[in-house]
C-alpha cells in the first residue's frame, strides 16, 4: 500500500512539532525493530490469547439472516474481547512495545472511553503509570468509563479546550507528550497521527481480519462478498479490512457517523463531507472550513465524533478500494435496538453504525452472498444514553 515510507498514496506523513519528533523517531526505530520480531509477536499473541481471550468468535447471525432475507450474515465478535472492544488489540501491542522501550509512563486520549479503559487496563497489567485525556463533554456522556479507568489506577484528565471532545483530548495528549516525551509513551487509539502510528495501529488491529478470513473460509469454504465496519478514526475498520484488501471480490464498507444528517451542521461524516488537510500529524481528510479551521463535529457516538480519518482510509477511499456510507443517529439507534432484540447482542453505539450499514446493504444483496459485520464493541456503556435518546427516564443519576 505505502510506496513512500509513512505514506498511503498522498496521505500520511509526520506533521508534528519538533518537540516530539525525537520521540516519534525513537518509536519508529523500536516499532520497526519489533514489528517482525518473532519473540515480540509470540509474546503479543500469548497476551491476545490468554488476556484478551482471542481469537474472537465469528458468529453466524441466523435469525438476522432469516429476518433480512438477504446474504448470510456473520458477526465478528470484538465485543467479546476483554474490556469489551477491539481497542485492547492495539493497546496490548503498543504497551508491550513501550515496555521494550523502557518507558515508565503512558498517556492516551479517549472519546467514548473504550480506548481509555483498554489503556488503563493494560497499564495496570504491565505496571505503568497512566494518564488518560478525555473531553469534558465525553466524561459527562461516559461517566461510568471515567470511574472504570480510575478504578484501574489511571488518572483521567477532563479537557476543557475547544469542543471538549475527542479532538481536544488528542490536542491535550500531544501537549503532554511535547513536555514529557523522554519518559512518556503516547498510546494513540486509532489509525491516525504521525507515522508510524497509522501503520502500527493497523498492524496491531489486523488480527481481526486475519482471524475473520480464516474463520469464514473454515465455515463457508469461501470469502465473503462484503465486510462492514464503523469508522471514526478507523482502527476497527482498518483491522477488519486489512487482510481482505488483496481479495478484490470482497467489498469493504465503512460506516461513518452522519449524526443528525450530512446536510446539517451536526455530523462527523469526514469522507462524505471532508477535504484534504494536515492535522494531528497527518495529511488526510478532515472536516474543516475554507480557512482550514477544524470543524466542530457531532455524533451520538462519542467514539465516532472525530473530524478526521486515518490516512490509510483516505487512500482506500481515493483509490476506490473501499466505500464509505453515512449512518445517522436515528439509524444507529434503530440498529442498536434491532441487534439487541434479534440476536440478543447489545452492540456499542459505534458498532451500531456498522450494523445499520449492513441492514441497508443486505437489502441489495442476495441469499447466496455472505457479509461480515465487525462488531467492534459491546453496548453496555451506551444503555443510559440510548434510553435518554428514546425519552426513557432511568433511575440512575
Amino acid at each position: 500500500m505505502s510506496q513512500e515510507k509513512g505514506r498511503f498514496g498522498r496521505f500520511g506523513g509526520q506533521y508534528v512539532p519538533e518537540t516530539v519528533m525525537h520521540a516519534v523517531e525513537e518509536l519508529d526505530k523500536a516499532y520497526n525493530k519489533y514489528v517482525n520480531d518473532e519473540e515480540f509477536n509470540k509474546e503479543l499473541r500469548t497476551l491476545y490469547r490468554d488476556y484478551a481471550s482471542r481469537p474472537s468468535l465469528l458468529y453466524y447471525a441466523e435469525k438476522m439472516t432469516e429476518d433480512l432475507g438477504g446474504p448470510k450474515i456473520y458477526i465478528k465478535r470484538e465485543d467479546l474481547n476483554h474490556t469489551g472492544s477491539h481497542k485492547i488489540n492495539n493497546v496490548l501491542g503498543q504497551l508491550l512495545l513501550a515496555k521494550k522501550m523502557g518507558k515508565k509512563r503512558i498517556i492516551a486520549e479517549t472519546g467514548a472511553g473504550q480506548h481509555g479503559v483498554a489503556t488503563a487496563t493494560v497499564a495496570a497489567l504491565m505496571g505503568f503509570e497512566c494518564t488518560v485525556y478525555m473531553g469534558r463533554e465525553d466524561t459527562e456522556r461516559q461517566s461510568l468509563n471515567v470511574y472504570r479507568m480510575e478504578l484501574l489506577g489511571s488518572k483521567v484528565v477532563p479537557v476543557d479546550s475547544g469542543t471538549k471532545t475527542l479532538k481536544d483530548a488528542i490536542n491535550e495528549a500531544m501537549r503532554d507528550w511535547s513536555a514529557n516525551s523522554e519518559t512518556t509513551f503516547y498510546c494513540i487509539g486509532s489509525v491516525m497521527g504521525p507515522y508510524p502510528y497509522p501503520e502500527m495501529v493497523r498492524n496491531f488491529q489486523k488480527i481481526i481480519s486475519e482471524e475473520a478470513r480464516a474463520q469464514i473460509l473454515e465455515a463457508e469454504g469461501r470469502l465473503p462478498d462484503a465486510v462492514v465496519a464503523c469508522v471514526g478514526g478507523g482502527s476497527n475498520a482498518m483491522g477488519m479490512f486489512y487482510n481482505f484488501i488483496p481479495d478484490e471480490g470482497v467489498r469493504l464498507i465503512g460506516a461513518e457517523a452522519a449524526g443528525k444528517g450530512v446536510d446539517t451542521a451536526l455530523h462527523a461524516a469526514t469522507i462524505t463531507k471532508g477535504s484534504v488537510g494536515i492535522f494531528h500529524g497527518m495529511k488526510s481528510l478532515f472536516l474543516q472550513n475554507e480557512e482550514g479551521q477544524i470543524d466542530p463535529v457531532y455524533s451520538i457516538s462519542a467514539g465516532l465524533d472525530y473530524p478526521g480519518i486515518g490516512p490509510e482510509h483516505a487512500n482506500l477511499f481515493e483509490t476506490k478500494r473501499a466505500e464509505y456510507v453515512d449512518i445517522t443517529d436515528e439509524e444507529a439507534v434503530c440498529a442498536f435496538e434491532y441487534l439487541s432484540k434479534t440476536e440478543g447482542i447489545i452492540p456499542a453505539i459505534e458498532s451500531s453504525h456498522a450494523v445499520a450499514a449492513a441492514l441497508k446493504e443486505a437489502k441489495k444483496m442476495t441469499k447466496d452472498q455472505i457479509m461480515i459485520i465487525c462488531l467492534s464493541g459491546r453496548g453496555d456503556k451506551d444503555v443510559y444514553s440510548i434510553a435518554k435518546y428514546r425519552g426513557v427516564k432511568l433511575d440512575e443519576e
Binding site: 519538533e18 490536542n171 494536515i278 500529524g281 477544524i294
Partner: protein, 264 residues
Amino acid sequence: MKNKIEICLDNLKAQNKKALITYITAGCGGYEQTEEAVLAMEKAGADLIEIGVPFSDPIAEGPVIQQASLKALNRNTTLVGTFEMVKKLREKTEMPLLLMLYINTIFRFGTEKFFACCKDAGIDGVIVPDLPYEEYDEINGTAEKYGIIPISLVTPVSFERTGKIASQAKGFLYCVSSTGVTGVRDNLNTNLTGFFDTVKEYSKVPNMLGFGISKPEQAREIKTYADGIIVGSAVVRLIDEDDRAGSTAKIAELTASLRAALDE
C-alpha cells in the same frame, strides 16, 4: 534582493546588539489593536515581529496563546484579514514581519497562493510549528520562490536531529528553551548553554531562544549565549480586549524593559 530578516540581523550583528523578537496573535482584541501593538513594539525596541494567525487547534501552544487564538477566531479573524492588516502595517513600517501559523492554514489556502500573498503583503518569513524537518518540502521550495524565509525550530530534545536542522537554517534558528508548549515560565531549562554549544557547532545563522521568556532578568542571562530572544505569551497575556490603549501601553512597557535588558 536580500530578505529584510537577514538585513536586520546583519545590522544587529554589526552593531554587536542582541535581537528582540516579539509575538502577537492577530485579531486578538481586533485587527486595529494588533496593528497598534505591533507599531508600539517596534517603537519600544522590538527588531522583528511574529504575527500569529489563529488556529482552531493550536497543539504547540500553552493556555495563553490558545485563549488568544480562540478570542481572535471569535472575532472572525482570518488569514485573508491578517494579510490585509499586514498591508496596512507595511505603509507604516519597514521592520521584518513574520507569520506564525499551522501547516493546515497554509495547505488549505493553497501553498503557492499563500506565499504569493505573503510577498504581496510584505511578509518576510514564516514559522510553522507543526512542520518538522521531515516535511519541509511541503513549503520550502515555494517559500524560496517568493523570497520568504521558513524558520527552522530546534529543541533541547532534538538530540541527533540538531545538526541537520541547524545546518540548513535560514534567517535565524528558533531554539526552543524547553520541552512542551509555549507559555510563561519562571524557570528555564538549566542546561541551555550546553544546548547552545551544540547548536552553534552547526548553525550558520543567528540563534534565538524562545518559549517561556517573559522577564528582563531572563533576557540578561540568555544574552550571554544566544543572539536574541523571542517573547510571545508574555506579550499576549497583556491584551485586554476592553482596554486597547491600556494594553498597548503595557505591551510597549514590557518591550522597552526587555530591550533595555538586552542593551545593558
